[in-house]
Subunit: 315 residues, 2 copies
Amino acid sequence: MNTSSLRIGIIGTGAIGGFYGLMLARAGFDVHFLLRSEFDAVSEHGMRIESAVHGTLQMPVQAYADVADMPPCDWLLVGTKTTSNAEMAPIIAKAAASDGKVVLLQNGLGVEKGMRPLLPENLHLLGGLCFICVHREAPGVVRHQALGAVNLGYHSGPAADAVVRQNIAEAGADLFREAGIDSKAMANLAQARWQKLVWNVPYNGLSVVLGGSTTPLMADPQSRELIQALMAEVVEGARSCGHAMPEGYAEQLFSMTEKMPDYWPSMYHDFVQKRPLELASIYAEPLARARKAGCSLPRIEALYQELAFIDRHNR
Amino acid sequence: MNTSSLRIGIIGTGAIGGFYGLMLARAGFDVHFLLRSEFDAVSEHGMRIESAVHGTLQMPVQAYADVADMPPCDWLLVGTKTTSNAEMAPIIAKAAASDGKVVLLQNGLGVEKGMRPLLPENLHLLGGLCFICVHREAPGVVRHQALGAVNLGYHSGPAADAVVRQNIAEAGADLFREAGIDSKAMANLAQARWQKLVWNVPYNGLSVVLGGSTTPLMADPQSRELIQALMAEVVEGARSCGHAMPEGYAEQLFSMTEKMPDYWPSMYHDFVQKRPLELASIYAEPLARARKAGCSLPRIEALYQELAFIDRHNR
Protein backbone atom coordinates (compact mmCIF):
# COMPACT_ATOMS: atom_id res chain seq x y z
CA MET A 1 0.00 0.00 0.00
CA ASN A 2 1.24 3.46 -0.85
CA THR A 3 0.58 5.18 2.44
CA SER A 4 1.56 8.59 1.10
CA SER A 5 -1.44 8.79 -1.26
CA LEU A 6 -3.99 8.04 1.47
CA ARG A 7 -5.61 10.73 3.55
CA ILE A 8 -7.00 9.87 6.98
CA GLY A 9 -9.31 12.18 8.89
CA ILE A 10 -9.91 11.92 12.63
CA ILE A 11 -13.31 13.15 13.79
CA GLY A 12 -13.38 13.58 17.52
CA THR A 13 -9.90 13.78 18.90
CA GLY A 14 -10.54 12.48 22.39
CA ALA A 15 -8.86 9.39 23.78
CA ILE A 16 -9.78 7.00 20.95
CA GLY A 17 -9.38 9.39 18.00
CA GLY A 18 -6.25 10.91 19.50
CA PHE A 19 -4.55 7.59 20.17
CA TYR A 20 -5.21 5.91 16.83
CA GLY A 21 -4.73 9.12 14.84
CA LEU A 22 -1.35 9.82 16.35
CA MET A 23 -0.22 6.19 15.98
CA LEU A 24 -1.15 6.39 12.27
CA ALA A 25 0.61 9.74 11.87
CA ARG A 26 3.72 8.32 13.50
CA ALA A 27 3.65 5.48 10.96
CA GLY A 28 3.85 8.01 8.14
CA PHE A 29 0.19 8.35 7.16
CA ASP A 30 -1.20 11.72 6.17
CA VAL A 31 -3.54 12.31 9.12
CA HIS A 32 -5.84 15.31 9.62
CA PHE A 33 -7.39 16.00 13.01
CA LEU A 34 -10.68 17.86 13.42
CA LEU A 35 -10.83 19.38 16.90
CA ARG A 36 -13.15 21.52 18.91
CA SER A 37 -12.27 22.63 22.42
CA GLU A 38 -8.72 21.28 22.16
CA PHE A 39 -7.81 23.03 18.90
CA ASP A 40 -5.69 25.78 20.45
CA ALA A 41 -3.73 23.44 22.70
CA VAL A 42 -3.07 20.93 19.92
CA SER A 43 -2.12 23.61 17.34
CA GLU A 44 0.41 25.01 19.72
CA HIS A 45 1.87 21.89 21.37
CA GLY A 46 0.94 19.02 19.06
CA MET A 47 -0.46 15.84 20.51
CA ARG A 48 0.99 13.47 23.04
CA ILE A 49 0.39 9.85 23.94
CA GLU A 50 1.75 8.62 27.25
CA SER A 51 1.65 4.91 26.73
CA ALA A 52 2.50 2.05 29.06
CA VAL A 53 3.11 0.02 25.90
CA HIS A 54 4.72 2.42 23.41
CA GLY A 55 6.32 4.99 25.73
CA THR A 56 5.78 8.70 25.22
CA LEU A 57 4.98 9.91 21.74
CA GLN A 58 4.77 13.63 21.06
CA MET A 59 4.24 15.09 17.59
CA PRO A 60 2.93 18.20 15.86
CA VAL A 61 -0.23 17.31 13.91
CA GLN A 62 -2.37 18.75 11.11
CA ALA A 63 -5.17 20.25 13.20
CA TYR A 64 -8.40 21.91 12.07
CA ALA A 65 -11.07 23.80 13.93
CA ASP A 66 -13.43 23.88 10.94
CA VAL A 67 -14.23 20.93 8.70
CA ALA A 68 -14.39 23.32 5.72
CA ASP A 69 -10.60 23.65 5.95
CA MET A 70 -9.93 19.90 5.81
CA PRO A 71 -8.92 18.17 2.57
CA PRO A 72 -11.19 15.28 1.44
CA CYS A 73 -10.22 12.15 3.36
CA ASP A 74 -10.23 8.56 2.10
CA TRP A 75 -10.71 7.16 5.58
CA LEU A 76 -12.51 8.84 8.43
CA LEU A 77 -12.13 7.49 11.93
CA VAL A 78 -14.95 8.67 14.15
CA GLY A 79 -14.16 8.61 17.89
CA THR A 80 -16.87 10.96 19.12
CA LYS A 81 -19.56 9.87 21.58
CA THR A 82 -22.51 7.97 20.09
CA THR A 83 -24.77 10.51 21.78
CA SER A 84 -23.68 13.16 19.24
CA ASN A 85 -23.84 11.07 16.05
CA ALA A 86 -26.77 12.96 14.51
CA GLU A 87 -24.87 16.20 14.95
CA MET A 88 -21.62 14.75 13.56
CA ALA A 89 -23.07 13.20 10.38
CA PRO A 90 -22.99 16.37 8.19
CA ILE A 91 -19.46 17.11 9.40
CA ILE A 92 -18.32 13.60 8.50
CA ALA A 93 -19.96 13.92 5.08
CA LYS A 94 -18.08 17.17 4.43
CA ALA A 95 -14.73 15.69 5.41
CA ALA A 96 -15.08 12.57 3.24
CA ALA A 97 -13.68 11.98 -0.25
CA SER A 98 -16.25 10.84 -2.82
CA ASP A 99 -15.69 7.13 -2.11
CA GLY A 100 -14.65 7.68 1.49
CA LYS A 101 -14.76 5.00 4.15
CA VAL A 102 -16.24 6.07 7.46
CA VAL A 103 -15.32 3.94 10.49
CA LEU A 104 -17.34 4.37 13.68
CA LEU A 105 -14.93 3.55 16.51
CA GLN A 106 -17.78 3.42 19.01
CA ASN A 107 -19.44 1.05 21.44
CA GLY A 108 -22.84 -0.55 21.43
CA LEU A 109 -25.46 -1.59 18.93
CA GLY A 110 -27.29 0.36 16.26
CA VAL A 111 -24.73 3.12 15.79
CA GLU A 112 -24.26 2.39 12.08
CA LYS A 113 -28.01 1.94 11.59
CA GLY A 114 -28.56 5.39 13.09
CA MET A 115 -25.75 7.02 11.11
CA ARG A 116 -26.48 5.43 7.72
CA PRO A 117 -29.49 7.53 6.62
CA LEU A 118 -27.62 10.69 7.63
CA LEU A 119 -24.66 10.01 5.31
CA PRO A 120 -24.51 10.30 1.49
CA GLU A 121 -25.00 6.95 -0.26
CA ASN A 122 -21.58 7.04 -1.89
CA LEU A 123 -19.82 6.69 1.46
CA HIS A 124 -18.87 3.29 2.84
CA LEU A 125 -19.77 2.81 6.47
CA LEU A 126 -17.83 0.49 8.75
CA GLY A 127 -17.85 -0.25 12.45
CA GLY A 128 -14.74 -0.59 14.57
CA LEU A 129 -14.39 -2.21 17.99
CA CYS A 130 -11.50 -0.96 20.08
CA PHE A 131 -10.10 -3.18 22.80
CA ILE A 132 -8.04 -0.63 24.63
CA CYS A 133 -7.59 1.06 28.00
CA VAL A 134 -7.11 4.70 27.17
CA HIS A 135 -8.35 8.05 28.41
CA ARG A 136 -7.87 11.71 27.65
CA GLU A 137 -5.74 13.21 30.38
CA ALA A 138 -5.54 16.85 29.28
CA PRO A 139 -6.10 18.81 26.05
CA GLY A 140 -4.06 16.96 23.42
CA VAL A 141 -2.76 14.40 25.93
CA VAL A 142 -3.91 10.78 25.89
CA ARG A 143 -2.93 8.19 28.49
CA HIS A 144 -2.74 4.65 27.14
CA GLN A 145 -2.75 2.02 29.89
CA ALA A 146 -3.04 -1.30 28.08
CA LEU A 147 -4.21 -3.28 25.04
CA GLY A 148 -5.02 -1.57 21.73
CA ALA A 149 -6.57 -3.89 19.15
CA VAL A 150 -9.17 -2.63 16.64
CA ASN A 151 -11.49 -4.99 14.79
CA LEU A 152 -13.34 -3.68 11.73
CA GLY A 153 -16.44 -4.80 9.88
CA TYR A 154 -18.26 -3.45 6.84
CA HIS A 155 -21.78 -2.22 7.51
CA SER A 156 -23.26 -0.60 4.40
CA GLY A 157 -22.56 1.49 1.34
CA PRO A 158 -21.77 1.20 -2.36
CA ALA A 159 -20.08 -2.21 -1.98
CA ALA A 160 -22.80 -4.81 -2.36
CA ASP A 161 -20.63 -7.84 -2.94
CA ALA A 162 -19.51 -9.71 0.19
CA VAL A 163 -15.96 -10.13 -1.09
CA VAL A 164 -15.59 -6.43 -1.89
CA ARG A 165 -17.01 -5.49 1.51
CA GLN A 166 -14.59 -7.79 3.26
CA ASN A 167 -11.71 -6.38 1.19
CA ILE A 168 -12.57 -2.88 2.33
CA ALA A 169 -12.61 -4.02 5.95
CA GLU A 170 -9.25 -5.73 5.32
CA ALA A 171 -7.85 -2.52 3.85
CA GLY A 172 -8.91 -0.70 7.01
CA ALA A 173 -7.29 -3.33 9.20
CA ASP A 174 -4.13 -2.98 7.08
CA LEU A 175 -3.89 0.71 7.98
CA PHE A 176 -3.93 -0.08 11.68
CA ARG A 177 -1.51 -2.98 11.31
CA GLU A 178 0.94 -0.75 9.43
CA ALA A 179 0.81 1.55 12.44
CA GLY A 180 1.76 -1.35 14.73
CA ILE A 181 -1.77 -1.92 16.00
CA ASP A 182 -3.32 -5.36 16.22
CA SER A 183 -6.31 -5.34 13.86
CA LYS A 184 -8.67 -7.80 12.18
CA ALA A 185 -11.38 -7.56 9.54
CA MET A 186 -14.59 -9.19 10.72
CA ALA A 187 -17.18 -10.77 8.43
CA ASN A 188 -19.98 -10.23 10.96
CA LEU A 189 -20.08 -6.75 12.48
CA ALA A 190 -23.26 -7.35 14.50
CA GLN A 191 -21.74 -10.40 16.16
CA ALA A 192 -18.58 -8.43 16.97
CA ARG A 193 -20.61 -5.60 18.47
CA TRP A 194 -22.48 -8.05 20.73
CA GLN A 195 -19.15 -9.54 21.79
CA LYS A 196 -17.81 -6.16 22.79
CA LEU A 197 -20.95 -5.59 24.86
CA VAL A 198 -20.02 -8.53 27.06
CA TRP A 199 -17.40 -6.21 28.51
CA ASN A 200 -19.13 -2.84 28.16
CA VAL A 201 -22.47 -3.74 29.73
CA PRO A 202 -21.14 -4.74 33.16
CA TYR A 203 -18.08 -2.54 33.54
CA ASN A 204 -19.33 0.73 32.06
CA GLY A 205 -22.58 0.68 34.00
CA LEU A 206 -21.23 -0.58 37.31
CA SER A 207 -18.37 1.93 37.28
CA VAL A 208 -21.04 4.64 37.39
CA VAL A 209 -23.57 3.01 39.73
CA LEU A 210 -20.98 1.74 42.20
CA GLY A 211 -18.37 4.46 41.69
CA GLY A 212 -15.76 1.74 41.19
CA SER A 213 -12.95 1.11 38.71
CA THR A 214 -12.09 -2.39 37.52
CA THR A 215 -9.78 -3.34 40.41
CA PRO A 216 -12.30 -2.90 43.25
CA LEU A 217 -15.11 -4.29 41.07
CA MET A 218 -13.02 -7.45 40.50
CA ALA A 219 -12.00 -7.68 44.17
CA ASP A 220 -15.46 -7.80 45.76
CA PRO A 221 -17.26 -11.18 45.80
CA GLN A 222 -20.71 -9.69 45.19
CA SER A 223 -19.74 -7.35 42.35
CA ARG A 224 -17.88 -10.28 40.72
CA GLU A 225 -21.06 -12.35 40.82
CA LEU A 226 -23.03 -9.47 39.38
CA ILE A 227 -20.51 -8.90 36.57
CA GLN A 228 -20.65 -12.58 35.66
CA ALA A 229 -24.46 -12.59 35.73
CA LEU A 230 -24.59 -9.48 33.51
CA MET A 231 -22.09 -11.03 31.09
CA ALA A 232 -24.21 -14.19 30.94
CA GLU A 233 -27.26 -12.09 30.06
CA VAL A 234 -25.39 -10.37 27.19
CA VAL A 235 -24.38 -13.79 25.86
CA GLU A 236 -28.01 -14.90 26.18
CA GLY A 237 -29.27 -11.77 24.41
CA ALA A 238 -26.77 -12.23 21.59
CA ARG A 239 -27.82 -15.85 21.15
CA SER A 240 -31.48 -14.83 20.98
CA CYS A 241 -30.54 -12.51 18.10
CA GLY A 242 -28.67 -15.26 16.27
CA HIS A 243 -25.15 -14.44 17.43
CA ALA A 244 -23.78 -17.36 19.40
CA MET A 245 -20.58 -16.47 21.21
CA PRO A 246 -17.48 -18.64 21.10
CA GLU A 247 -17.40 -21.11 24.02
CA GLY A 248 -15.95 -19.51 27.17
CA TYR A 249 -15.91 -16.01 25.70
CA ALA A 250 -17.33 -14.25 28.77
CA GLU A 251 -14.99 -16.14 31.11
CA GLN A 252 -12.08 -15.05 28.93
CA LEU A 253 -13.05 -11.33 29.12
CA PHE A 254 -13.57 -11.68 32.87
CA SER A 255 -10.11 -13.09 33.49
CA MET A 256 -8.56 -10.62 31.01
CA THR A 257 -10.04 -7.81 33.12
CA GLU A 258 -8.46 -9.30 36.22
CA LYS A 259 -5.05 -8.96 34.59
CA MET A 260 -5.64 -5.40 33.34
CA PRO A 261 -4.26 -2.37 35.19
CA ASP A 262 -6.89 -0.59 37.25
CA TYR A 263 -9.18 1.11 34.73
CA TRP A 264 -12.09 3.57 34.77
CA PRO A 265 -14.39 2.81 31.82
CA SER A 266 -15.32 5.66 29.50
CA MET A 267 -18.84 5.92 30.91
CA TYR A 268 -17.42 6.84 34.28
CA HIS A 269 -15.47 9.72 32.72
CA ASP A 270 -18.65 10.83 30.94
CA PHE A 271 -20.51 10.73 34.26
CA VAL A 272 -17.88 12.75 36.12
CA GLN A 273 -17.72 15.30 33.28
CA LYS A 274 -21.55 15.48 33.33
CA ARG A 275 -21.71 14.44 29.68
CA PRO A 276 -24.66 12.36 28.43
CA LEU A 277 -24.06 8.64 29.05
CA GLU A 278 -24.05 6.31 26.04
CA LEU A 279 -27.12 4.43 27.25
CA ALA A 280 -28.96 4.09 23.95
CA SER A 281 -26.25 2.11 22.15
CA ILE A 282 -24.88 0.12 25.11
CA TYR A 283 -28.15 -0.68 26.92
CA ALA A 284 -31.42 0.35 25.29
CA GLU A 285 -30.72 -1.04 21.80
CA PRO A 286 -29.44 -4.47 22.96
CA LEU A 287 -32.42 -4.74 25.35
CA ALA A 288 -34.85 -3.84 22.55
CA ARG A 289 -33.31 -6.36 20.13
CA ALA A 290 -33.35 -9.16 22.70
CA ARG A 291 -36.92 -8.31 23.70
CA LYS A 292 -37.97 -8.45 20.06
CA ALA A 293 -36.42 -11.91 19.90
CA GLY A 294 -38.47 -12.93 22.95
CA CYS A 295 -35.56 -12.74 25.38
CA SER A 296 -35.78 -10.97 28.73
CA LEU A 297 -32.56 -9.64 30.31
CA PRO A 298 -33.73 -8.52 33.77
CA ARG A 299 -30.38 -7.57 35.31
CA ILE A 300 -29.32 -5.51 32.30
CA GLU A 301 -32.72 -3.86 32.25
CA ALA A 302 -32.45 -2.99 35.96
CA LEU A 303 -28.94 -1.59 35.45
CA TYR A 304 -30.17 0.44 32.47
CA GLN A 305 -33.06 1.86 34.48
CA GLU A 306 -30.69 2.87 37.27
CA LEU A 307 -28.30 4.50 34.80
CA ALA A 308 -31.13 6.35 33.08
CA PHE A 309 -32.15 7.83 36.44
CA ILE A 310 -28.55 8.75 37.27
CA ASP A 311 -27.94 10.25 33.82
CA ARG A 312 -31.10 12.37 33.98
CA HIS A 313 -30.12 13.75 37.39
CA ASN A 314 -26.49 14.32 36.41
CA ARG A 315 -26.97 17.12 33.91
CA MET B 1 -56.64 -2.53 80.66
CA ASN B 2 -55.03 -0.96 83.69
CA THR B 3 -52.27 0.93 81.96
CA SER B 4 -50.66 1.98 85.21
CA SER B 5 -49.62 -1.57 86.12
CA LEU B 6 -47.85 -2.23 82.82
CA ARG B 7 -44.21 -1.41 82.27
CA ILE B 8 -42.94 -0.81 78.75
CA GLY B 9 -39.24 -0.74 77.86
CA ILE B 10 -37.86 0.85 74.71
CA ILE B 11 -34.62 -0.68 73.46
CA GLY B 12 -33.01 1.53 70.87
CA THR B 13 -34.37 5.02 71.08
CA GLY B 14 -33.83 6.10 67.51
CA ALA B 15 -36.65 7.18 65.24
CA ILE B 16 -38.88 4.11 65.70
CA GLY B 17 -38.30 3.50 69.41
CA GLY B 18 -38.42 7.20 70.18
CA PHE B 19 -41.66 7.82 68.31
CA TYR B 20 -43.67 4.89 69.64
CA GLY B 21 -42.17 5.13 73.14
CA LEU B 22 -43.06 8.78 73.51
CA MET B 23 -46.55 8.27 72.08
CA LEU B 24 -47.10 5.52 74.66
CA ALA B 25 -45.72 7.69 77.47
CA ARG B 26 -48.00 10.53 76.43
CA ALA B 27 -50.95 8.12 76.69
CA GLY B 28 -50.07 7.46 80.32
CA PHE B 29 -48.09 4.26 80.07
CA ASP B 30 -45.07 3.71 82.30
CA VAL B 31 -42.34 3.81 79.65
CA HIS B 32 -38.60 3.30 80.26
CA PHE B 33 -36.09 4.26 77.60
CA LEU B 34 -32.68 2.60 77.28
CA LEU B 35 -30.31 4.96 75.51
CA ARG B 36 -26.70 5.03 74.49
CA SER B 37 -25.21 8.05 72.75
CA GLU B 38 -28.32 10.16 73.33
CA PHE B 39 -28.59 9.54 77.08
CA ASP B 40 -27.17 12.91 78.18
CA ALA B 41 -29.30 14.93 75.79
CA VAL B 42 -32.51 13.05 76.65
CA SER B 43 -31.88 13.13 80.43
CA GLU B 44 -31.47 16.87 80.25
CA HIS B 45 -34.09 17.93 77.71
CA GLY B 46 -36.50 14.99 77.50
CA MET B 47 -37.64 13.73 74.13
CA ARG B 48 -39.39 15.54 71.34
CA ILE B 49 -41.50 14.45 68.39
CA GLU B 50 -42.07 16.96 65.64
CA SER B 51 -45.00 15.41 63.86
CA ALA B 52 -46.85 16.50 60.76
CA VAL B 53 -49.80 14.52 62.17
CA HIS B 54 -49.73 15.09 65.93
CA GLY B 55 -47.94 18.41 66.19
CA THR B 56 -44.99 18.90 68.53
CA LEU B 57 -44.79 16.69 71.58
CA GLN B 58 -42.06 17.33 74.13
CA MET B 59 -41.82 15.41 77.43
CA PRO B 60 -39.31 14.40 80.08
CA VAL B 61 -38.85 10.62 80.02
CA GLN B 62 -37.47 7.87 82.26
CA ALA B 63 -34.07 7.43 80.63
CA TYR B 64 -31.37 4.84 81.38
CA ALA B 65 -27.80 4.50 80.20
CA ASP B 66 -27.40 1.01 81.72
CA VAL B 67 -29.92 -1.81 81.45
CA ALA B 68 -29.02 -2.86 85.03
CA ASP B 69 -30.83 0.24 86.27
CA MET B 70 -34.09 -0.51 84.41
CA PRO B 71 -37.04 -2.15 86.18
CA PRO B 72 -38.32 -5.41 84.66
CA CYS B 73 -40.59 -4.58 81.73
CA ASP B 74 -43.71 -6.45 80.61
CA TRP B 75 -43.36 -5.28 77.03
CA LEU B 76 -40.11 -4.50 75.27
CA LEU B 77 -40.18 -2.63 71.98
CA VAL B 78 -36.95 -3.14 70.06
CA GLY B 79 -36.20 -0.43 67.51
CA THR B 80 -32.48 -1.05 67.04
CA LYS B 81 -30.96 -2.03 63.70
CA THR B 82 -31.23 -5.72 62.76
CA THR B 83 -27.47 -5.66 62.23
CA SER B 84 -26.92 -5.44 66.02
CA ASN B 85 -29.48 -8.03 67.15
CA ALA B 86 -26.92 -10.53 68.45
CA GLU B 87 -25.40 -7.83 70.60
CA MET B 88 -28.81 -6.61 71.84
CA ALA B 89 -30.21 -10.00 72.87
CA PRO B 90 -28.59 -10.19 76.37
CA ILE B 91 -29.62 -6.58 77.03
CA ILE B 92 -33.21 -7.35 76.06
CA ALA B 93 -33.18 -10.44 78.29
CA LYS B 94 -32.00 -8.35 81.27
CA ALA B 95 -34.70 -5.71 80.75
CA ALA B 96 -37.57 -8.20 80.48
CA ALA B 97 -39.99 -9.31 83.23
CA SER B 98 -40.23 -13.08 83.65
CA ASP B 99 -43.11 -13.44 81.19
CA GLY B 100 -42.08 -10.43 79.11
CA LYS B 101 -43.17 -9.85 75.54
CA VAL B 102 -40.41 -8.74 73.17
CA VAL B 103 -41.55 -7.00 69.98
CA LEU B 104 -39.00 -6.58 67.17
CA LEU B 105 -40.05 -3.40 65.36
CA GLN B 106 -37.70 -4.18 62.50
CA ASN B 107 -37.74 -4.81 58.77
CA GLY B 108 -37.02 -7.89 56.75
CA LEU B 109 -37.15 -11.63 57.18
CA GLY B 110 -35.53 -13.93 59.71
CA VAL B 111 -35.05 -11.39 62.49
CA GLU B 112 -37.12 -13.39 65.02
CA LYS B 113 -35.50 -16.64 63.90
CA GLY B 114 -32.08 -15.10 64.57
CA MET B 115 -33.10 -13.58 67.91
CA ARG B 116 -35.03 -16.57 69.31
CA PRO B 117 -32.11 -18.81 70.37
CA LEU B 118 -30.43 -15.81 72.02
CA LEU B 119 -33.40 -15.10 74.35
CA PRO B 120 -34.54 -17.06 77.42
CA GLU B 121 -37.36 -19.51 76.66
CA ASN B 122 -39.76 -17.81 79.06
CA LEU B 123 -39.93 -14.68 76.90
CA HIS B 124 -42.57 -14.25 74.22
CA LEU B 125 -41.20 -13.02 70.90
CA LEU B 126 -43.31 -10.98 68.49
CA GLY B 127 -42.62 -9.13 65.29
CA GLY B 128 -43.94 -5.67 64.49
CA LEU B 129 -44.19 -3.98 61.11
CA CYS B 130 -44.19 -0.20 61.21
CA PHE B 131 -45.77 1.72 58.35
CA ILE B 132 -44.41 5.13 59.12
CA CYS B 133 -42.25 7.93 57.71
CA VAL B 134 -40.08 8.96 60.58
CA HIS B 135 -36.43 9.81 61.18
CA ARG B 136 -34.17 10.88 63.99
CA GLU B 137 -33.33 14.52 63.48
CA ALA B 138 -31.07 15.23 66.46
CA PRO B 139 -30.36 13.57 69.83
CA GLY B 140 -33.77 13.03 71.40
CA VAL B 141 -35.62 14.63 68.49
CA VAL B 142 -37.73 12.58 66.06
CA ARG B 143 -39.35 13.98 62.95
CA HIS B 144 -42.57 12.24 61.98
CA GLN B 145 -43.64 12.97 58.41
CA ALA B 146 -46.59 10.64 57.77
CA LEU B 147 -48.42 7.40 58.53
CA GLY B 148 -47.79 5.46 61.74
CA ALA B 149 -49.52 2.07 61.84
CA VAL B 150 -47.93 -0.92 63.59
CA ASN B 151 -49.01 -4.49 62.87
CA LEU B 152 -48.00 -7.21 65.31
CA GLY B 153 -47.70 -10.97 65.06
CA TYR B 154 -46.68 -13.64 67.54
CA HIS B 155 -43.53 -15.54 66.60
CA SER B 156 -42.51 -17.93 69.37
CA GLY B 157 -42.35 -18.48 73.12
CA PRO B 158 -44.26 -20.06 75.98
CA ALA B 159 -47.65 -19.64 74.29
CA ALA B 160 -48.21 -22.74 72.19
CA ASP B 161 -51.91 -22.40 71.60
CA ALA B 162 -52.91 -20.36 68.54
CA VAL B 163 -55.67 -18.53 70.41
CA VAL B 164 -53.35 -17.53 73.25
CA ARG B 165 -50.70 -16.40 70.77
CA GLN B 166 -53.22 -14.30 68.92
CA ASN B 167 -54.47 -12.84 72.23
CA ILE B 168 -50.94 -11.73 73.10
CA ALA B 169 -50.59 -10.05 69.71
CA GLU B 170 -53.99 -8.41 70.28
CA ALA B 171 -52.86 -7.17 73.70
CA GLY B 172 -49.82 -5.59 72.03
CA ALA B 173 -51.99 -3.96 69.38
CA ASP B 174 -54.22 -2.66 72.20
CA LEU B 175 -51.27 -0.79 73.74
CA PHE B 176 -50.61 1.04 70.48
CA ARG B 177 -54.29 1.73 69.88
CA GLU B 178 -54.62 3.24 73.37
CA ALA B 179 -51.80 5.57 72.37
CA GLY B 180 -53.77 6.68 69.31
CA ILE B 181 -51.78 4.56 66.88
CA ASP B 182 -53.42 2.42 64.23
CA SER B 183 -52.51 -1.20 65.03
CA LYS B 184 -53.60 -4.72 64.13
CA ALA B 185 -52.76 -8.20 65.36
CA MET B 186 -51.79 -10.49 62.51
CA ALA B 187 -52.25 -14.24 62.48
CA ASN B 188 -49.42 -14.77 59.97
CA LEU B 189 -46.24 -12.87 60.79
CA ALA B 190 -44.21 -14.33 57.91
CA GLN B 191 -46.82 -13.18 55.40
CA ALA B 192 -46.86 -9.71 56.95
CA ARG B 193 -43.07 -9.49 56.79
CA TRP B 194 -43.11 -10.39 53.08
CA GLN B 195 -45.77 -7.74 52.49
CA LYS B 196 -43.65 -5.08 54.15
CA LEU B 197 -40.75 -6.10 51.91
CA VAL B 198 -42.77 -5.06 48.87
CA TRP B 199 -42.02 -1.51 49.99
CA ASN B 200 -38.61 -1.95 51.62
CA VAL B 201 -36.87 -3.86 48.84
CA PRO B 202 -37.25 -1.20 46.13
CA TYR B 203 -37.19 2.03 48.12
CA ASN B 204 -34.51 1.27 50.69
CA GLY B 205 -32.05 -0.10 48.15
CA LEU B 206 -32.67 2.43 45.39
CA SER B 207 -32.42 5.36 47.80
CA VAL B 208 -28.81 4.27 48.41
CA VAL B 209 -27.83 3.19 44.89
CA LEU B 210 -29.45 6.17 43.15
CA GLY B 211 -29.06 8.70 45.96
CA GLY B 212 -32.74 9.53 45.61
CA SER B 213 -35.64 10.01 48.03
CA THR B 214 -39.16 8.88 47.18
CA THR B 215 -40.23 11.99 45.25
CA PRO B 216 -37.52 11.85 42.54
CA LEU B 217 -37.72 8.05 42.45
CA MET B 218 -41.46 8.29 41.75
CA ALA B 219 -41.01 11.11 39.20
CA ASP B 220 -38.61 9.37 36.83
CA PRO B 221 -40.11 6.96 34.25
CA GLN B 222 -37.25 4.46 34.43
CA SER B 223 -36.97 4.31 38.21
CA ARG B 224 -40.76 3.88 38.36
CA GLU B 225 -40.50 0.86 36.06
CA LEU B 226 -37.67 -0.54 38.14
CA ILE B 227 -39.62 -0.07 41.39
CA GLN B 228 -42.60 -1.87 39.89
CA ALA B 229 -40.42 -4.70 38.59
CA LEU B 230 -38.75 -5.10 42.00
CA MET B 231 -42.14 -5.09 43.73
CA ALA B 232 -43.37 -7.78 41.33
CA GLU B 233 -40.34 -9.91 42.20
CA VAL B 234 -41.05 -9.62 45.95
CA VAL B 235 -44.66 -10.69 45.30
CA GLU B 236 -43.32 -13.60 43.24
CA GLY B 237 -40.83 -14.58 45.95
CA ALA B 238 -43.53 -14.46 48.62
CA ARG B 239 -45.82 -16.66 46.54
CA SER B 240 -43.01 -19.18 46.04
CA CYS B 241 -42.76 -19.40 49.85
CA GLY B 242 -46.50 -19.91 50.24
CA HIS B 243 -47.51 -16.32 51.01
CA ALA B 244 -49.82 -15.08 48.29
CA MET B 245 -50.38 -11.33 48.50
CA PRO B 246 -53.79 -9.74 48.33
CA GLU B 247 -54.73 -8.79 44.76
CA GLY B 248 -53.31 -5.39 43.79
CA TYR B 249 -51.18 -5.10 46.94
CA ALA B 250 -48.03 -3.85 45.18
CA GLU B 251 -50.00 -1.33 43.11
CA GLN B 252 -51.55 -0.04 46.33
CA LEU B 253 -48.15 0.51 48.00
CA PHE B 254 -46.87 2.14 44.83
CA SER B 255 -49.68 4.68 44.69
CA MET B 256 -49.52 5.21 48.47
CA THR B 257 -45.87 6.19 48.03
CA GLU B 258 -46.86 8.67 45.36
CA LYS B 259 -49.06 10.43 47.88
CA MET B 260 -46.47 10.42 50.67
CA PRO B 261 -44.37 13.47 51.48
CA ASP B 262 -40.83 13.22 50.11
CA TYR B 263 -39.09 10.59 52.23
CA TRP B 264 -35.58 9.20 52.66
CA PRO B 265 -35.82 5.52 53.69
CA SER B 266 -33.91 4.38 56.77
CA MET B 267 -31.25 2.61 54.71
CA TYR B 268 -30.25 5.91 53.18
CA HIS B 269 -29.71 7.40 56.64
CA ASP B 270 -27.64 4.33 57.57
CA PHE B 271 -25.56 4.80 54.43
CA VAL B 272 -24.91 8.48 55.06
CA GLN B 273 -24.01 7.78 58.70
CA LYS B 274 -21.69 4.98 57.51
CA ARG B 275 -23.61 2.43 59.58
CA PRO B 276 -23.92 -1.17 58.36
CA LEU B 277 -26.86 -1.54 55.94
CA GLU B 278 -29.64 -4.00 56.85
CA LEU B 279 -28.89 -6.21 53.86
CA ALA B 280 -29.22 -9.60 55.54
CA SER B 281 -32.84 -9.22 56.62
CA ILE B 282 -34.13 -7.11 53.72
CA TYR B 283 -32.29 -8.79 50.83
CA ALA B 284 -30.18 -11.87 51.57
CA GLU B 285 -32.79 -13.77 53.61
CA PRO B 286 -35.71 -13.23 51.18
CA LEU B 287 -33.43 -14.20 48.26
CA ALA B 288 -32.31 -17.35 50.09
CA ARG B 289 -35.88 -18.38 50.94
CA ALA B 290 -37.12 -17.80 47.40
CA ARG B 291 -34.12 -19.67 45.97
CA LYS B 292 -34.83 -22.61 48.28
CA ALA B 293 -38.37 -22.60 46.91
CA GLY B 294 -36.96 -22.73 43.37
CA CYS B 295 -37.67 -19.07 42.61
CA SER B 296 -35.09 -16.75 41.03
CA LEU B 297 -35.40 -12.99 41.68
CA PRO B 298 -32.75 -11.54 39.36
CA ARG B 299 -33.42 -7.83 39.86
CA ILE B 300 -33.47 -8.11 43.65
CA GLU B 301 -30.31 -10.17 43.51
CA ALA B 302 -28.57 -7.56 41.33
CA LEU B 303 -29.67 -4.77 43.67
CA TYR B 304 -28.44 -6.77 46.67
CA GLN B 305 -25.05 -7.34 45.03
CA GLU B 306 -24.71 -3.63 44.30
CA LEU B 307 -25.66 -2.74 47.88
CA ALA B 308 -23.23 -5.29 49.29
CA PHE B 309 -20.42 -3.64 47.29
CA ILE B 310 -21.50 -0.16 48.39
CA ASP B 311 -21.85 -1.22 52.04
CA ARG B 312 -18.41 -2.84 52.10
CA HIS B 313 -16.79 0.30 50.66
CA ASN B 314 -18.75 2.66 52.92
CA ARG B 315 -17.20 1.72 56.25
